[in-house]
C-alpha cells in the first residue's frame, strides 16, 4: 500500500545542508494503523508530507498503491490525493471562505463523485456536526474544525488517511473525541492510517508504533491489536547505516 525505498530528504537552509530524513525504508500494508512518534524535528511531518506527495524526496522513491509518486507531476499528484489519500492537519486548514458543509463537499466535486451533497451531510452527521453544517470555520471551535477536517478527509473514501498531530491544537476532551473518530474510521472502513504525534498515549491507539530520531528509524514496535489486524502483512521499517 505505502512503500518508501531509500528515501532521504535534505533541505538547504542558508549555506547549511540539513538532513531531515536519512535513507528510510518503510512498508505499510493495507489496513494498518501506524503511529509515528519522535521529538520535534525528527522528521514525522516530512514523512507524512512525502507519503501524500505534498513534498518530493531528495533521493529514493515513494510508491502508493503501486504508483511511484516521484514520477508524477503536480496535477497528477493532486488527482491521486483526491482519490486515495485523506489528510488531517494539526492546524485544521479548512478553507475559510467556505462553510463546514462546503469544505466537505469540495473534494467530492473535484473527483466528480456522484451525489456529493447527500454524502457531505452524512459525513458531517457521522462526526457529530449535524447542527453546524452551515457555519464558517471562524464560527467553529478547534475541535469542531478538526472534525470537519476529518469529514473532509473521508469524503472520497480514501484508502489512506494521514493525520499530522491532529490533536496538537486541541484540549484533551476534544483530542480524545478526534482520536476516537480516527480509530472508528480504521475499524469500520479498514482505512490505512498513518498518524504522527508525540503523545505516547495517542500513539498506543494504533497497531504499530514507529519511533523516528534524527530522521532515522529508532524502533518499530507492534501493539497487540485485534485478530484481524494481526493476520495482515506486517509493517516493516529500517534505516540501513
Amino acid at each position: 500500500m505505502i512503500e518508501l525505498k531509500d528515501v532521504s530528504k535534505v533541505v538547504t537552509s542558508g549555506s547549511e545542508q540539513l538532513t531531515i530524513l536519512d535513507t528510510l525504508n518503510l512498508n505499510v500494508p493495507s489496513g494498518q494503523f501506524l503511529s509515528v512518534v519522535g521529538p520535534s524535528g525528527s522528521g514525522k511531518s516530512t514523512l507524512l508530507g512525502l507519503i501524500a506527495g505534498l513534498d518530493a524526496p531528495s533521493a529514493g522513491s515513494v510508491i502508493i498503491d503501486g504508483e511511484d509518486l516521484t514520477a508524477l507531476d503536480e496535477d497528477r499528484l493532486a488527482r491521486l490525493r483526491g482519490d486515495k489519500i485523506g489528510f488531517v492537519f494539526q492546524f485544521f486548514h479548512l478553507i475559510p471562505s467556505l462553510t463546514a458543509y462546503e469544505n466537505v463537499l469540495v473534494p467530492m466535486e473535484l473527483a466528480e463523485a456522484p451525489r456529493p451533497a447527500e454524502k457531505a451531510h452524512r459525513l458531517l452527521d457521522e462526526v457529530g456536526l449535524s447542527d453546524r453544517k452551515h457555519h464558517y470555520p471562524s464560527q467553529l471551535s478547534g475541535g469542531e474544525q478538526q472534525r470537519v477536517a476529518i469529514a473532509r478527509a473521508l469524503a472520497n473514501d480514501p484508502a489512506i488517511l494521514l493525520a499530522d498531530e491532529p490533536t496538537g491544537n486541541l484540549d484533551s476532551a476534544n483530542g480524545r473525541h478526534v482520536i476516537d473518530l480516527l480509530v472508528d474510521v480504521h475499524r469500520k472502513r479498514k482505512t490505512t492510517i498513518v498518524l504522527a504525534t508525540h503523545d505516547a498515549a495517542l500513539a498506543a491507539r494504533g497497531n504499530v508504533i514507529l519511533t523516528l530520531r534524527g530522521g532515522r528509524v529508532d524502533s518499530l514496535r507492534e501493539i497487540s491489536g485485534d485478530k484481524e489486524t494481526r493476520a495482515k502483512p506486517r509493517v516493516t521499517a529500517s534505516s540501513p547505516s
Binding site: 513534498d55 503536480e74 489528510f87 494539526q90 492546524f91 471562505s97 469540495v106 473527483a111
Partner: protein
Amino acid sequence: MNFVFRMAGREMRASWRRLVFFFICVAIGVAAIVALRSVVQNIRATLVQEAKTLTAADVIVQSDRPWDDGTRAIMDQSLAAFPVTARTESIETMTMTAPADEDKEIATMIELRALQPAFPLYGDLVLESGRPYSHHLLENRGALVRPELLTRLGIQVGDGVAIGGQVYTVRDVIVKEPGQPLGVFRFGPRVLVDYDDLVRSELLGVGGRVRYQVLLRTDEASIDPLIGTLTEALRREYVSVRSYRETGDQLGRRLGRAEDYLSLVGFVIVILGGIGIWSVVGVFMRRKLKSIAILKCVGASTKQIFGVYLIQVVGLGLGGSVLGLGLAHLAVESVPPGVVVGLSMEDYGVTWSAVLQGVGIGVLVSVLFSLIPLMESRRIKPLLLLRQQMDRPAASGKKTGRLGTIDVWELAAAGAVLIALIALASWQAGDFEVGLMVTTSFAVVAVVLHLTGMLLVRAIEPLGRKGSFPFRHAVLGLSRPGNQTRMILLAVGLGTFFILGTRGIEANLLEQFRMELEDDAPDMFLVDLQPDQVTPAEERLMSLGAREVRMVPVLRARVTGVQGRDVTLQGYEEVREERRLRREFTVTYRDHLEANERILEGRFWDPTPSSEAEVSIEDDFQEDVGIQVGDMMRFDILGREVGARVTSIRDVEWDDARNGGFMFVFRPGALANAPHTFLGFVKAPLDSLARAKLQRDIVAEFPNVSIVDLRDILLTLHGVVEKLALAVTLVGAIALISGVMILVGSVAMTKFQRQYEASILRTLGASGKTVRRMVLLEYGTLGALAGTVGGLGAPLLTWVLCEHLFDVPWQPNLAWSLYAIPLTALGVTIVGMATTLDILRNKPLAILRAE
C-alpha cells in the same frame, strides 16, 4: 468545469468585501473611458458641424467649365449609387461692379457667387437686418453684399449695383456666410445673386475665371466612397472633388491634439485602474495561499484553481464595467449644459457600441492586470500546510529582492500582457506609435521601480540591527519577505508617473491654446498696395485707430530651374514634374527672421542689402525635393529671370502665421526693382464702428486696395480653441481625481498584509505610538521613493508625447516633479496611518482570530 464555477461563486460570496476596491477600479476606468469617448465624439460632432459650415456641403464637385450634358450624365450615374439627400449648384466668379447710379465714378472687384434655392446645405446665412435668409431675397435681381462693398461704393441697402451689364438691387448685408473657407484671401467683397439671373447675364461668356460647383449632402459613411467614385468617373473632365474635411484643416489640427489628449487620458485612467486591480489581486492572492494549498491538497489541479480565480476576476470586471457605464451616464447627464459651452451632449446616450467598448475594456484590463498575480497560484505548494506560519506570505517560497527562478509561463504572460497593453493603448490613442511609447514608458518605469525596491531592501537590510525599536521594525517591515514594498513602490510610482505625465501634457497643451487665444493676431489685410502707397497708407491706418500695421512686400514667382548638388531641374518643363515646385509662389524679402521661423541649416544673411540674390527656403524643399544650401535656383518673377543662391533652410511654424508664412524669403536688395506690391497686416480697431470707418476711408483714399477682414473667422477659431481648452482642463481634473482615488485605495489595501504583524506587536506590548512611528517610517520612505521615480520619469513621458504626438513645444514642469516627492510621501504616509487606525482601535485578538 462545474466545480470551477461553483467554487468561484462561493469564494465571491465570502470575500466580495475585499474585492470591492477591484470593482471600483474597474468602474472608474470604464466610466472615464466612456465619458471621455462621449466628450470626444461631441467635440468632433461640433467641429464637423463647423467644418461643414465652412463648405456648406459634405462634398463639392468643382469645374472651371460649364457642366456639359456628358459630364452631367456621368455625374448622375455615379451619384445614383449613393444616398445623396440634397444637391444644389452654384457659380463663383470674379468681376467688377459699380453703383447703378452712374454719377458715382467708382468700380471695384467683387467675388460673385450665384446660388440656387437649396443653398446652404449646412450652416446659416446671417443678415444684418436680422431677418432669416431666404432665396426670395435674391430672386428678380436681388443681391446680398458684404458691408465692405457698401462702404467702398458709397451705397446703401436698396441701391442698385451693376454687375455684368445687369442691375441688381442690394436687399441686405451679409454678416456671416457659410461656404467660405478659412484663410483664403479674397480678391474683393462677396456678392450673392440668384443662379438663374447670373446664367441669363452675359457675364459667363466673356472669359475670366469661373468656377462651377455642385454641392452635395450625403451621410458620413458615403463621403469617401462617393469621392472615390466621382474622382474616378470624372478624371478626364478637369473636375475636382473634395469633402468638407479638407477645408477644416486649421480646426482639424487643434482638434486632433485635443482628441489625442483625451484618448490618452482615457487610457491612462484605465492603466491606473489596472494598477489598482493588480494591487488588489496581489493582496488577495496572498490571502488565498492557504485556500489554494488546501484545494491542491484535496485534489484540485492548477488549471482548476486558476479557473476559479480567473472567473472571479472576469465576474468583477463585468460588474465593475456595468457600474462604470452607469457612472459615465450619470456624470455626463449631470454636467449642466451651460458649463461645457458648445459641447452639446444631447447626442450622448448609452449606445451599444459604447457599452460593448466599455465592458470589453473593463474585462480585458481586469484580466490583464490580474494575470501575473494570479499566476502565483501555480507556485503555491500544498506542502505549506504542514508548516505552522502558513498564511504568511513568506510561504510563497519566493524571496523578495532576488530574481528567483525564471518562470517561462510567467514571462510568456508578461509578454502577452505587454502586447495587449500596446494594442489597447494604440486603439485608445488611435495611433500605434503612441501606444508603443506609452506602454514602453510604463514598462521602463515599472522596471526602474522594481529595481529601486530591490536596491532599497538590500541597502537598508543592515540597518535593521541598529537604532530605536520603531526604526528597526520599520526596516524589517520594508525588507521582510512578502512585504508591501514592491506593491506600494510600483502602484504609487506608476500612478505618480502617469498623473504627473498627463498633467504635464495638459499644461503644455493649455499653454499652446492660451498663446493662440491671447495671440493678438492681425485681423485685417490690405491687398495690392503699390510701393508709393505704403507710407501714406500706414499713416492713414494709424490715424484711423489701427493698433498695429506691418507692410510686407510680396511678389509672385515661379521656379524655373534648380542647379544643385543632389537635384538638377533644367527649365520649367522639368520643374513641373516636381509636385512641390510647380505652383506659383508668393515670395517676400526681408532682413530678419520672424518669430515663427528657425534656421535649420546654413546662415541667415546680414541685414545689409546685397545685389547678389540670396534665398532662404522652407525645409520641405530640402526633404521632398532635395535642394541643399549652396544650390542655385532660378525664379521667374513677373517675366524677369532671377537667379538666387540658397543660403539657408528654415523651419516655419505654420500654425503661428500671424506674420504670414513664406516658402521662399529673399535677401533685400536684388528684388528691389522687381515689380511688386505690398500686403498690409493690420490690427484693426476692435470697435465695429471704428472698423467700418477705417475700411470706408481707406478704400476711398486708395481705391485700388482690397480689404480682407478676418475678424469673424478669428473669433470662430478662438471659440473652438476655448472649447478645446475647457475640455482638456475638465478631463485633466477627472484623471487627477480618479488617479488619486485609485492610489489611495491601492495603498490602503496593503493594510491587510501588515495588520497581522502589528497585532502581534500590540499583543507583545508595543504602544500605539510605537506602531504609528513604524508605519510613519515605512510608508514615508516608500512614498518618497515612489514619488521620486514617478516624478522624475513624468517629464520624460511629457517630452516624448509633446514632441512626437502633440507636436507642441515642450516646457518642462520640473517644479511639479519636485513638489510631487514630498506630497507623495505625505499622501502615502497619511493613508498608511489611517489604515493603521483600524489596527490600533480594534483588539489585537479580533484580528489574530480573523487571520
